[in-house]
């Protein structure tokens, strides 16, 4: 395969004016015996003695330009790092000597270069694409100076006979290879098109700049030819040596991964993670192959270095909750205690019938399923994705997994198939328990190979999907399993709960056993539910907590996937069935009840009159809706909690509390629940939450929450987790708000939506609530236009009447300005329909509104 000796071209310096590249970094290094290298090196620009050196190796077909942000970031004033980013020989602006190279040549040449540079320790290697293999080859041969390894979308293991990544395959067919990689720029262009968002034309041109002629592209073809796709490939032994040696590395490792990579897909990440089990993983769902372009490469790597290098390599990855020593009652303890209790645990109302599951049956089922799953090979710590609709089966499977110490993975079907698949796959479940539809997706989309069926499944479907067992079969297996199950520890992982995805791709929040128990206790304390106080759950997550609380739980007759199908009559029937006093619902379910209250028989109205606590969770409830509910439930306190997937509940407020609070800057969400601690991190003049956490009244900042029922970390999102847990023990919510003199929390919107004017920071929700009171306004959005720090506040109104033009008439503009005074509004615009974000049909997509307002107020045409 060696190509004939090709064109010889000397090394050169890159042209000037490439975006983000400082010409002062570039130098040529002549290494006798191998050639002249072009390298980026920030050494001479460093403000002080560096902590160490980051040695960066690009892949194919890029060049050291890939690392420009890391080179720049390394030159920071505090704890600087020298960054040396090489152009591999034949690539970038390094010398072309016409010789085709093999992996072992490249590793040896890199060693010769670092020797010539006199690179002393500590050295952290960084490699992308096939440069990852070269960097690891160097790493395993320089252990004396090696302090860490960083890997971006790469691979060290290609199973022989396995097909190469699909997009590479055409380029690997010898005849096609030269055409696609050398003769034309097809391979180059395909690679550069893998960025999310797309590269700017200037950056794309910079990446292409060393590869303008086919003579300069020879090494691109050679590189592809050197991919050891077959068992007898000449570079196979070298690759296998590196792959094996990597498993012996004990230095800190960071796997920074773009999930949207058609070349280096998740299986390569999983392979590397298995070889480097101590590695920190940041798998970005929105980034692709060029993860260094899509993510904050410089800031991210340096933050990781600050935490890990120099550091104790024995540290656990991602950090675990420090053992608190607090007494811990396992989630299923109340259930296990009632193994002999024949009383009702779950009461499910369906049509005219009622299905009652006694405590004894539920407890037995949970025990059997736990043992049965263990028999099937599910180990403590394994992840089990559960895709089963709310009901007895779901409850039993979840408690079984928690008992077993398996980690349940739960994502909302509302994410859609793509979002759901992205979430489940990122959690790498060892098994999937699901209904038929979920199992089909699991098989087709490759979520897991161990599938367990919940609910009915035809024999042919079972065979086609390769289902290993149905839930009754799992229970049967459990009944005959002899061994006792070990009890999981309080700080073991227990669940991965995915966020709703309304603010970017869904993130998996990892809870410990202790965290789930604390969630149970927080809910029980806040709403007075426990043994002897049965409740009605028209909101699925709360139904799941019933057995943990030892409370009988009734599910009203409704389609749980469409909460608005709950009728007043069905709710009343459920209340009567268990003589309940507490109801948990969602705003949509509440709306359904209110819409059907005229059909309520007299005895139903009487039953609802007995309800003392009504909780509406999942989204903010408009006060109007709560007031209507008060008429239907005359003796109930109407509560609405504030919280998020990462911690729920955080605060709670009832209708009386909302009324007592009156109007203010944002939405009053009440006092922290017992065990929860709320602070704000004050915003600086730039609108960034940089201040030390405080409880001082009136100070606006990012809302920080703490409590035993907080997530332990995000799953495989190391950088995101670092940012969200900057303040030890607290979670940064991304919401902005303030605490008032009574200790109540007011939420003013999302941090990324604050408007930073010259006079100060404006939070949008308070403005919008005032504008929504103006006559003729249906909905509104408050956004900022212009540069941060001197932004102008703009209000975009969706009027009740038909819209003409873009600029509001004088009357509406004056009314809006008067409503929000003393805040100053530069423009009041009108739009016939404000966009709402896909997940929450009620939340206005302020980001989209801001983009539109920015364009039209600058005199550009734009559509909303």
């Amino acid at each position: 395969m060696r190509s004939p000796v090709g064109l010889r071209l000397p090394a050169s310096l890159p042209p000037g004016g490439l975006p983000g590249l400082d010409p002062a970094w570039s130098r040529l290094v002549d290494v006798p015996g191998s050639g002249t290298w072009h390298v980026l090196d920030n050494h001479d620009a460093l403000p002080g003695e560096p902590v160490g050196t980051i040695l960066c190796v690009h892949g194919n077909p890029t060049w050291s330009y890939l690392w420009r942000r890391l080179v720049a970031a390394g030159g920071r004033a505090d704890r600087p790092w020298r960054v040396v980013a090489v152009d591999q020989l034949g690539m970038g602006f390094s010398e072309r000597d016409g010789r085709a190279r093999r992996l072992e040549d490249r590793v040896a040449e890199l060693g010769a270069l670092t020797k010539e540079l006199g690179l002393a320790g500590p050295v952290v290697t960084a490699g992308h694409d096939w440069g990852g293999v070269v960097s690891l080859g160097w790493a395993v041969e320089h252990r004396d100076v090696l302090a860490g390894v960083v890997l971006l979308n790469t691979a060290v293991h290609l199973p022989p006979g396995d097909r190469a990544p699909a997009v590479l395959r055409p380029a690997m067919v010898p005849g096609v290879r030269t055409a696609s990689t050398v003769t034309t720029t097809a391979f180059l262009d395909t690679t550069l098109a893998l960025a999310h968002p797309p590269l700017t034309p200037e950056v794309r041109a910079a990446f292409r700049s060393p590869y303008r002629t086919s003579g300069r592209r020879q090494a691109i073809g050679d590189f592809v030819a050197d991919i050891p796709a077959t068992a007898d490939h000449p570079s196979r032994p070298a690759l296998d040596r590196v792959a094996t040696a990597v498993t012996t590395l004990d230095v800190p490792a960071l796997l920074l991964w773009g999930a949207r990579d058609p070349v280096f897909s998740d299986r390569f990440l999983d392979d590397l993670a298995a070889r480097l089990p101590h590695a920190d993983v940041h798998r970005s769902p929105r980034a692709g192959h060029l993860v260094g372009e899509d993510e904050d490469l410089g800031g991210g790597v340096l933050r990781w270095l600050d935490v890990r290098v120099p550091g104790d390599p024995a540290d656990r990855p991602e950090g675990r909750a420090a053992a608190t020593g607090e007494p811990w009652v396992p989630l299923g303890a109340a259930l296990a205690d009632r193994q002999d209790d024949g009383g009702p645990a779950l009461v499910e109302l369906r049509g005219s019938g009622t299905r009652t599951i006694p405590w004894s049956l539920l407890a037995t089922r949970v025990d059997e399923l736990a043992r049965g799953l263990a028999t099937l090979g599910v180990r403590p710590g394994d992840r089990v994705a559960v895709l089963v609709p709310p009901g007895g089966d779901l409850t039993a499977v979840l408690y079984a997994c928690v008992r077993l110490g398996a980690v349940v993975v739960v994502a909302d079907a509302g994410l859609g198939v793509r979002g759901l698949s992205r979430a489940v796959r990122s959690a790498r479940p060892a098994a999937v328990v699901g209904v038929e539809r979920a199992l089909v997706a699991a098989r087709v989309l490759g979520w897991s190979s161990t599938l367990v069926a919940a609910g009915p499944l035809h024999r042919s479907a079972r065979r086609a999907l390769g289902v290993v067992a149905t839930l009754p079969e799992v229970a049967d297996l459990g009944r005959v399993a002899a061994a006792d199950l070990p009890v999981p520890g309080p700080d073991d992982d227990a669940a991965v709960l995915f966020t709703s995805g309304s603010t970017g791709p869904a993130k998996g929040a990892v809870y410990s056993q202790r965290g789930l128990s604390a969630m149970r206790d927080a809910v029980g304390r806040a709403y007075g539910v426990g043994p002897g106080s049965p409740f009605v759950a028209a909101f699925a997550p709360f139904a799941l907590l019933g057995p943990a609380l030892g409370a009988t739980t009734a599910s009203p007759d409704m389609d749980v996937t469409a909460p608005r199908t709950l009728t007043a009559r069905a709710l009343a029937d459920a209340v009567r069935a268990i003589d309940g006093r507490v109801v948990f619902a969602s705003p949509a379910a509440l709306a359904g009840v209110l819409a059907t209250q005229d059909d309520l028989p007299v005895d139903g109205r009487a039953a609802l009159g007995e309800v003392t606590t009504f909780l509406s969770a999942g989204a903010p409830v408009p006060e109007r809706l709560l007031a209507q509910a008060a008429a239907l439930l005359p003796n109930a306190e109407l509560h609405t909690p504030y919280g998020m997937t990462e911690m729920l509940p955080v605060t709670d407020v009832d209708l009386a509390g909302i009324r007592a609070a009156g109007p203010g800057d944002g939405v009053c969400v009440g006092h922290p629940v017992a065990g929860a601690d709320v602070r704000v991190s004050p915003l600086d003049a730039d609108g960034r939450a940089t201040g030390a956490p405080t409880t001082e009244p009136g100070v606006v900042g990012e809302v920080l929450v703490a409590g035993p029922h907080r997530k332990v970390r995000y799953d495989r999102l190391w950088l995101t987790e670092q940012a969200s847990s900057r303040d030890p023990g607290r979670h940064r919510t991304g919401d902005v708000g303030h605490l008032d003199a009574h200790g109540r929390l007011w939420v003013g919107g999302r941090l990324e939506h604050v408007v930073v004017t010259a006079e100060g920071v404006v939070t949008p929700v308070g403005v919008e609530r005032q504008v929504d009171e103006v006559r003729g306004v249906a909905r509104s959005a408050a956004v900022g236009v212009g540069p941060r720090g001197t932004q102008q506040l703009v209000v975009v109104v969706e009027p009740e009447a038909r819209v003409r033009g873009v600029v509001a008439d004088d009357e509406l503009a004056a009314a809006v300005r008067a409503a929000v005074a003393p805040r100053r509004v530069a423009a009041v615009l009108v739009a016939s329909r404000l966009p709402t974000d896909v997940r929450h049909n009620s939340k206005i997509d302020r980001a989209a509104v801001a983009v539109w307002a920015d364009a039209v107020l600058a005199g550009r045409r734009a559509r909303l």
Binding site: P787, A826, A827, L829, A858, G859
Partner: protein, 325 residues
């Protein structure tokens, strides 16, 4: 520091802003001399008649002054560039030389944001350097050259501050308000495009305050240019409507697409350039561009350096305009 007791020369005091500055200085206790071709008739100030294009008259006017506020300029939208240059560049050169020779310690040069504007929208823009070669139209080009001359003259002996008020208006304004109202009355005030672009303006008293503040600003603030506005941008349609309402003129009704207006303006510019017709073209490309793109500015640096902030809000300004008409 105050202007109380010092002698200040105000050029161009027959204009709206010049008159307002002279009156503000008189109120502040300064000995005020006004210098322009027509009598400025500012109570308490001494009128000296003459043109900055006349070096002798200029030297006589500035003799014995502690400070100068230089507003005199040719401000028309069109015309032969030489005439602009004679006043805005050469006149400024004469006055700077005369002021330095007379021992003045402070020179406030009034310029325009258009000196740094090379087209397109200005969105929260900073005050960037004047660009005589790139600025649009003879007024902006010659003001840019004049501003650079002024900044070059900044020394410890005579500190120079450049202030660029943007779209100054108020009762008695013949430039912005006068033109808008005349066109509205003639039914010739079109709204270009959506009417949404944000435009920042300056109520005359705020601009006058800023110029007085520049006279007493600390030395560290000197040698630089500052854009001055109300810091309250509004959609251009809203501004035009407010001006019409306050002046009792009919509100604009005709909508013209922005691109068409710019093309039309460019065409009319060409016609007026070739055939010297009387007055101004009904729509110049410059005006069309001004009305269909955003123009608003970052005011933080200005307010900090000059220790000034506007006293009269936009709404208050429109109320005063209505009361005066």
């Amino acid at each position: 520091m105050t202007v109380d007791g010092s002698t200040v020369l105000v050029t161009g005091a027959s204009g709206m802003l010049g008159g307002a500055v002279a009156r503000a200085l008189v109120a502040g206790g300064a000995q005020v001399r006004t210098f322009q071709r027509r009598p400025a008739r500012v109570d308490g100030a001494r009128d000296v008649l003459g043109s900055v294009t006349d070096p002798v008259a200029t030297a006589r006017a500035v003799a014995g002054c502690d400070a100068v506020v230089h507003l005199a300029a040719r401000v028309d939208i069109t015309g032969p560039e030489d005439e602009f240059r004679r006043v805005n560049v050469e006149g400024t050169r004469h006055l700077l030389a005369a002021a330095r020779a007379a021992g003045a310690g402070r020179f406030v040069h009034v310029s325009s944001p258009s000196v740094a504007h090379v087209g397109g929208s200005l969105v929260g823009a900073p005050a960037t350097a004047a660009e005589p070669a790139l600025a649009r139209g003879p007024y902006a080009r010659t003001k840019a050259a004049g501003e650079l001359l002024a900044l070059e003259t900044d020394t410890a002996a005579m500190r120079v501050v450049v202030v660029r008020p943007h779209l100054v208006w108020g009762p008695g304004d013949t430039q912005l308000i006068g033109r808008v109202v005349a066109r509205a009355r003639a039914g010739r005030l079109p709204v270009l495009g959506s009417g949404a672009p944000l435009i920042d303006t300056t109520y005359v008293d705020n601009a006058a305050d800023a110029l007085v503040a520049a006279l007493t600003a600390p030395d560290a603030a000197c040698g630089q240019a500052y854009v001055v506005t109300n810091g309250e941008p509004r959609p251009v349609l809203e501004l035009l409507r407010a001006i019409c309402v306050a002046s009792g003129a009919p509100a604009p009704r005709v909508h013209v697409p922005g691109g068409l207006a710019r093309a039309l303006g460019a065409g009319l510019d060409a016609v007026w350039a070739r055939f010297p017709l009387a007055g101004e073209p009904p729509l110049t490309r410059f005006v069309a561009e001004q009305l269909s793109t955003a123009h608003w500015f970052d005011q933080r640096r200005t307010r900090e350096a000059l220790r000034w902030s506007p006293r009269v809000s936009l709404d208050e300004g429109f109320a005063r305009l209505a009361a005066a008409s």
